[in-house]
């Protein structure tokens, strides 16, 4: 008898769990970050950097590639070379791997790709879960194994690695993105021996024998002709035939060892079920729970969980179904528009068709859970219920209200099957307040410190600043399945009080639940602060309410503003998951474990905070009736457009799930200008302006990342109608006498980043710390400033005479990106704001996926907006990898229409007033004035054209007339796109000579996915995938582009020299060929407070790290040097810059030797870079015969 080893348990998410197995069973990883799979790559990279060994006592290598396509190529190569390779990906990343998946399968390489299943971008991007990506791989020849839970993801990763070695068929092991990949669960771990026991004898040796080597030469990748290709392709059949048997054998031996038994197609439910649901992924758990509940009520239902999806063993699948089954509903988490049914449905249909059950079983199929739409027991029950009807829907959706094609099944939102033995807690936290971290810690304390099971899932909102996090925690004596959000919470904690005023935080509270509020109000006054709806709900549900002023307690306990320990303590004390004393002891034990190394003082401080929290938490007396005379303010202002009222406001109120299909645009085209309706009120302090001190430089407006501080120049007369506290002063400009100047903050949109205050150069002569802009607490200012800002928005635009091409002049123009969800103090958005101020009314943006596409295009609200005339940026995101090409296509498309409109104008000219025709053709559209003139004439033209309607050409010109006014096409993205995944396209577009402008917002890491290294990451900096500090220098994209000769290139850093930035944006647009601006963008991934972002930009330039440079081919014609260095010789060593950023400094702590070495190299690299730019500028300044020829001034498509 085999004695079963005692399993070790841990609380992990699936990403970490899977990584532990993949790491031990691989020799090499080629990876590329993509949500939600990135953490797996990060884990293996860190373990590799730490020198952790795999099962063969060897440290696997981790190579970060430039794209998933590159990763797949590297994996294919490594496999051919005979190394056990593995990787992790999702969504579009998986799609980029498809060509190589065919190759790897075709060559029968053992290989496992772990995939966090994620939606594919269609009408919109979604980072969330469905099976669209993996379903796009079912034809590649990869075996596909699906895990439904965190435990299964761990187990199946081991099975997949073993199975691929035995069968030689590559495996895609997949599990649901976020829902499983990011769910924290208490699971049983797999020991090295567990893994070893699974590995087939001799398989690795056999694999090595297949390696390409000149010692036993062979050739792969031949080209085969019609005579043999077909037969050779069929040769692999028996390998696929063997897979199901092998996987089941592995499952069986795994079961003997671990006690966890799996079948290829696992049936769960009544042995005599008449209705069965067939499903894959986490949803199967929900269906299983629901089926059990229904069966307990006397129904006969079951669920068939498909684990091995490819190769599909139809016999095994059918054999797993009870003979009694009369009706089957197949649920697919993907959509194939135009197909008879979704893939799993079709597979089951084909299997049934070929069996003796054909005609005896009714089969229907439906879609659920696209883009992580919740899939709850209520929805699963709706599927069973519909199946029980006489004529179940043949094709359906569940989980939404499809009021257009009526496909959706109705479900009872109130249905819930959670039992009283699980404790369920929900936490509403403010991003960056440590709520999620503390909850993860609580799960560990309970999961690893007691016999209880624990589950945690975390929902984040779409904004990067002032975001809300909602944590869903379950604890209980029985294993927790429930892969859906909590609907009936025993405990609700609101860690940020304004949420109570903004949304229904008690929607999920069950009767008798406990509510904990963090609020800076004494307990006896808390009730009075609650809006009437909240009071009513508390009374109706008989909630017990507690409050604590956690920020005050935290400060008093010396914890700064960190409230996590305090709120965690309150949770433990109130939730009843553990006995109170036990709970406090557990939390103190955890503190000792976490901080013990830092010394007794730190432990004591945290323990004191725990005690202080208990003392400061008080019960709030709940009266018998509602006493509040106020209710929650409306989600959006009444003046908002209809769409915003009907759709956006629902999403803002966290009620987007309630919107029906008909509410939405069918093609992903949404109205712009919606952030203005979302008043987020996240700043604790806002700037106040002293007109007397102000020197009217407009620098504050220039640097504001959220367009929340603005300037105006308006006629003196308009002052009369200003609100009482609205401030203005005489405009200092000879060009506009009798004008007022004003600086105004948008108080509800400001994020309190302080950059405006930091940049303000106007100081009080007698008290030099006082500036014209000072930060002040928002509370007493809010109401008045709101009124002032409303007035400000009514003011007329600044007179044209002020709109010079300078920092000051550009800032008088209206910003057409505002109030984005970018981080507080973001270094990217000021550049975008400047861009929209200069060209927003004629701007088309192609935006690579990344931070700028998320704060630029993530719903519910988007920041690109319109001017008074209704014009504004037209913005679009295609993919991550194709953005340069996408933008080029936009340019070419626009040019097609422009050329046609010009041609038509020419043809119709004889019938039109010469003044209008000439006015359009002669307008200098390189200037704002020229654009305005052209627009004026085009407007007149459009009035005249209907009169010529008998001429077909006039009709066409009327359609196209607006293209007579120049459009500005900008291709925008981060360094991950420009330096890595999109570089090939970017290079091609630069080479094309077409008039596109490329703006690279260079944060030197993949910021949006959490700081992974790119080729822009500097030498010596720590980043993910460079945990030991990057040991190669940053790629010099500027010089590479400048080498083309015809490309306008600029390196800018707004915080160092804003005038150069403005100049570069203007020159770039004027340049007739392609332009490239590389903009230094400080980022939270650099590890310092972004209020110092501008200082760091200055240091980057002053140390020579970031030379300011322009390469302007146009200057050659004027006999001016084309290469200009706009920054002087370094004034300080590089360390003056790097010492302020943790991305450099953590290495000095982790590995001082290496840090010092890299710092030396980095200084040398900087010296070299500065010298090379100086040399370029010096060469350019020297007289020489002729500069490289610029391409034709206007590149036209071929007609």
């Amino acid at each position: 008898m085999i004695s079963r080893p005692v399993p070790q348990t841990a609380t992990l998410d699936a990403n970490e769990a899977v990584a532990t197995v993949a790491y031990r069973l691989s020799e090499l990883f080629a990876i590329y970050p993509i949500t939600p799979s990135s953490p797996m790559g990060e884990w293996v990279d860190e373990w590799s950097a730490q020198g952790r060994k795999n099962l063969w006592n060897h440290v696997p290598e981790v190579i970060e590639m430039q794209s998933e396509g590159g990763a797949a190529g590297a994996l294919h190569g490594a496999l051919n070379a005979g190394a056990l390779a593995s990787s992790f990906t999702a969504s579009q990343g998986l799609l980029l791997m498809i060509p190589n998946l065919y190759k790897i399968a075709g060559e029968l390489h053992p290989f496992v790709l772990h995939v966090t299943a994620r939606s594919l971008a269609t009408h919109a991007l979604s980072i969330f879960c469905d099976h669209g990506d993996v379903m796009a791989c079912r034809q590649t020849g990869s075996a596909m194994l699906c895990a439904n839970s965190v435990q299964e993801a761990l187990d199946f990763s081991a099975i997949a690695h073993a199975a691929t070695l035995r069968t030689r068929v590559p495996f895609i092991h997949f599990f649901d993105g976020f829902r499983t990949s990011h769910e924290v669960q208490k699971i049983n771990l797999l020991s090295d021996d567990d893994l070893r026991a699974l590995l087939p004898q001799g398989a690795i040796e056999a694999f090595r024998q297949k390696a390409l080597t000149p010692d036993r030469p062979s050739i792969r990748g031949t080209a085969q002709n019609p005579d043999v290709f077909f037969q050779a392709r069929e040769g692999a059949n028996k390998f696929y035939d063997a897979v199901p048997g092998v996987v089941q054998e592995l499952f069986d031996s795994f079961a003997v060892r671990t006690g966890r038994a799996y079948k290829l197609y696992d049936y769960e439910g009544a042995p005599d079920a008449d209705r069965v649901v067939v499903v894959m992924g986490s949803g199967a758990e929900t269906v299983a729970e629901t089926s059990a509940w229904l069966n307990a009520k006397g129904e006969k239902t079951g669920v068939l969980k498909v684990r091995l999806y490819r190769p599909l063993d139809a016999n095994a699948l059918l054999a797993a179904l009870p003979k009694t089954v009369r009706k089957i509903s197949v649920l697919d988490r993907t959509k194939e528009p135009g197909a008879i049914g979704e893939p799993l449905f079709l597979d089951v249909a084909a299997a049934l068709y070929e069996s003796d059950r054909v005609g005896k079983v009714e089969l229907v199929g439906g879609r659920y859970g696209l883009g992580s739409k919740e899939f709850t027991p209520a929805m699963a029950k709706a599927v069973y219920d519909d199946l029980a009807t006489a004529s179940p829907k043949k094709r359906f959706t569940v989980g939404i209200n499809d009021d257009v094609t009526k496909l959706s099944l109705p479900y009872d939102e109130k249905f819930d099957l959670e039992t009283d033995d699980t404790r369920r807690a929900m936490f509403f936290g403010l991003g960056a307040d440590g709520t999620v971290g503390a909850n993860k810690n609580s799960i560990k304390i309970i999961g690893e410190g007691t016999d209880l099971n624990a589950q945690g899932f975390f929902v984040y909102d779409s904004k990067k600043s002032g975001a809300m996090t909602i944590s869903h925690l379950r604890f209980g004596p029985k294993p927790i399945r429930a892969p859906y959000l909590i609907a009936n919470a025993d405990f609700v904690a609101v860690h940020h009080f304004p949420f109570v005023e903004r949304m229904e935080v008690l929607a999920q509270a069950r009767p008798g639940a406990t509510l904990l509020l963090n609020v800076a109000t004494p307990a006896d006054k808390v009730w009075d602060r609650l809006p009437s709806e909240v009071q009513a709900r508390i009374i109706d549900l008989k909630l017990k309410v507690y409050s604590i002023d956690a920020y005050t307690v935290a400060r008093a306990a010396g914890m700064g503003g960190q409230i996590n320990t305090i709120m965690q303590t309150c949770f433990f004390a109130l939730s009843g998951v553990l006995k109170r004393d036990e709970a406090i002891a557990a939390i103190k034990y955890a503190i000792k474990k976490t901080y013990g190394k830092k010394g007794d003082a730190v432990v004591a401080k945290n323990n004191a905070a725990v005690d202080a929290a208990l003392a400061a938490m008080h019960e709030v007396a709940v009266p018998a009736a509602v006493t509040a005379r106020f209710s929650r303010p409306p989600v959006v202002a009444k003046s908002a457009p209809e769409f915003v009222q009907r759709v956006t406001s629902m999403m803002l109120a966290n009620r987007g799930d309630e919107l029906p299909v008909s509410a939405f645009p069918v093609d992903g085209t949404w109205p712009t200008a919606t952030t203005k309706w979302e008043k987020r009120n996240i700043a604790l302090e806002i700037p106040t302006w002293d007109p007397a001190l102000c020197i009217q430089c407009n620098k504050c407006v220039m640097v504001c990342p959220h367009a929340a501080i603005r300037c105006a120049a308006f006629p003196d007369a308009d002052k009369a109608s200003a609100p009482e506290t609205f401030k203005s002063t005489k405009l200092k400009s000879a060009a506009a006498p009798n004008y007022q100047y004003s600086i105004q903050v948008a108080p509800e949109d400001c994020t309190g980043c302080t950059l405006c205050h930091k940049v303000c150069p106007a100081k009080d002569k007698t008290d030099l710390k006082r500036k014209a802009l000072m930060m002040a607490p928002i509370e007493p200012l809010l109401a008045k400033e709101r009124e002032n800002f409303d007035f400000f928005l009514q003011l007329p635009p600044a007179p044209a005479a002020l709109l010079e091409d300078t920092v000051k002049g550009t800032q008088f123009r209206e910003p057409l990106i505002e109030f984005s969800g970018a981080c507080t103090g973001c270094g990217e958005t000021p550049y975008l704001k400047l861009l929209t101020q200069l060209y927003g009314d004629r701007l088309l943006v192609a935006n690579a996926t990344g931070c700028s596409s998320i704060y630029g295009g993530n719903l519910p609200t988007t920041p690109y907006t319109t001017n008074r005339d209704g014009r504004g940026p037209a913005w679009s995101n295609s993919l991550f990898e194709d953005n340069a090409e996408y933008g080029l296509g936009i340019r070419a498309g626009v040019d097609q229409l422009a050329v046609q409109s010009q041609q038509l104008l020419k043809e119709l000219a004889p019938q039109l007033p010469a003044e209008i025709v000439n006015g359009i053709t002669a307008a200098d559209q390189l200037t704002d004035a020229g654009i305005a003139t052209a627009r004026g004439h085009v407007a007149a033209l459009k009035k005249l054209l209907p009169a010529l309607a008998s001429d077909e050409r006039a009709k066409r010109l009327l359609e196209l007339a607006d293209y007579l006014v120049k459009k500005s096409v900008w291709i925008i993205g981060g360094d991950g796109w420009a330096y890595d995944i999109g570089f090939g396209g970017l290079d091609h577009v630069l080479a094309s000579g077409r008039k596109v402008n490329i703006l690279v917002l260079d944060t030197e890491v993949y910021s949006n996915t959490g700081g992974q290294r790119s080729k822009s990451t500097p030498l010596g900096a720590v980043a993910k995938f460079s945990a030991a500090g990057k040991d190669t220098d940053k790629k010099d994209l500027a010089q590479m582009a400048a080498h083309y000769g015809h490309v306008y290139v600029a390196r800018v850093a707004l915080g160092a020299k804003d005038s150069q930035t403005v100049q570069a944006f203007i020159e770039a647009e004027k340049h007739p060929g392609p332009s490239l601006i590389i903009a230094y963008s400080h980022c939270i991934a650099h590890g310092y407070g972004l209020s110092a972002g501008l200082d760091q930009q200055k240091l980057a330039v002053d140390t020579g790290y970031w030379p300011l440079f322009r390469h302007d081919p146009e200057r050659a014609a004027k006999n001016l040097p084309v290469d200009i260095m706009d920054s002087g010789a370094p004034k300080q060593p590089l360390s003056a810059y790097t010492k302020n950023e943790l991305r450099y400094q953590v290495l000095f702590k982790a590995n001082p030797e290496r840090a010092a070495n890299l710092a030396d190299q980095a200084q040398k690299a900087v010296d070299k870079r500065v010298a090379s730019y100086q040399q370029l500028a010096a060469n350019a300044a020297a007289p020489k015969p002729a500069a490289p020829a610029a391409p034709a001034t206007e590149v036209k498509p071929n007609n």
């Binding site: 945990a1027 407070g1089 001082p1152």
Partner: protein
């Protein structure tokens, strides 16, 4: 020629050692210094602010951004403990101990009693041969008396003395009203030596930007004179070890410091500027000088021009002042 000296009870092969500086952050420097003839290694300082402040920086700029956004649940590699605090210093100390046979003097810098003084014990445990305590402090408040400041220095010395067995040196600021008295007091609480002196960060005002910028340039030989007088005054009045620190750029300054009474001489600026090998050159020149003036041992030199031994003690006292003024007049 006998270059040996006794400093903090340690028998050293010469009086010459690197002072506390970033040099010790790199092991190859340590080896170079040893090869060049350094008699001990003084490590860079571990600052109280580092111990207590690093946690704050990491929490503010790394941990704060964790679990904030679905796509980026962190921005720095996970699984690494960034809250390294003093551990990395102790690791460094262990590594240096392993890399060299020289005595290693760890350096701890703080102004008020606090948790940081615990690290003296950890330094001892990690193998430090002695501890240099730097209590750099500049009084800024009107309610702070000079006596309080001296008491605080003594209190720190007492606390650390109570927690470690190894020798302690106090590195002092030159701005004590009665340095000899303070040093004598330090001797009574069990301090084994003093290092003269700290270099002081002095603010600079940028009249273009209106910024106040802290400045600390490298020392110059000019800085030595402040040290020479203190050494000469102390040599005969206290028994503890005296080290000269600041202004030593060549053998000439070493000679002067020894003649005034130093047991050990620390070099920093010259090594930072010209590399660790410079220490060897200074040592060679020192030997040449000793040869020229027929000194056979460092102990013969030590204090040969102390206050007591100086043919003209006035030079160290008030007379020097008068004479200097006279010089200018002429």
């Amino acid at each position: 020629m006998n270059l040996t000296t006794k400093y903090l009870g340690l028998e050293l092969k010469s009086p010459l050692m690197p002072g506390a500086s970033p040099l010790a952050m790199r092991l190859d420097n340590i080896r170079k210094l040893e090869d060049a003839g350094a008699s001990a290694i003084v490590m860079h300082s571990l600052f109280a602010e580092q111990i207590e402040g690093n946690a704050v920086a990491v929490s503010r700029h790394i941990e704060r951004w964790q679990d904030n956004f679905a796509e980026a649940t962190s921005f720095f590699p996970q699984g690494q403990d960034y809250l390294l605090g003093p551990d990395e210093y102790l690791d460094r100390l262990t590594a240096i101990k392993a890399a060299t046979n020289l005595p290693v003097i760890a350096s701890l810098n703080g102004t008020h009693l606090g948790s940081w003084t615990d690290y003296a014990r950890l330094m001892e445990k990690a193998g430090a041969d002695a501890i240099e305590l730097n209590t750099y402090f500049f009084a800024t408040r009107r309610d702070e008396s000079s006596a309080e400041i001296e008491d605080r220095v003594l209190e720190i010395a007492r606390t650390v003395r109570a927690s470690v067995q190894i020798p302690i040196a106090m590195k002092l600021s030159p701005f004590f009203t009665s340095p000899v008295h303070l040093v004598a007091e330090l001797e009574t609480v069990g301090v084994n030596g003093v290092v003269l002196f700290n270099r002081i960060f002095q603010p600079e005002i940028d009249i273009e930007t209106f910024d106040v910028v802290p400045r600390l340039g490298l020392s110059s030989p000019e800085d030595l004179r402040l040290r020479l007088r203190a050494l000469a005054l102390l040599r005969d009045q206290v028994k503890l070890s005296l080290a000269c620190s600041g202004g030593v750029h060549s053998a000439a300054e070493v000679v002067k410091a020894l003649l005034a009474g130093a047991d050990a001489v620390q070099v920093v600026a010259a090594l930072l500027r010209d590399g660790p090998d410079t220490l060897g050159n200074i040592l060679t020149e020192l030997k040449l000088w000793m040869d020229k003036f027929e000194y056979t041992s460092v102990s013969e030199m030590r204090g040969a021009l102390s206050l007591r031994n100086c043919p003209d003690p006035e030079a160290y006292e008030r007379g020097n002042y008068l004479r200097s003024l006279q010089l200018w007049r002429e």
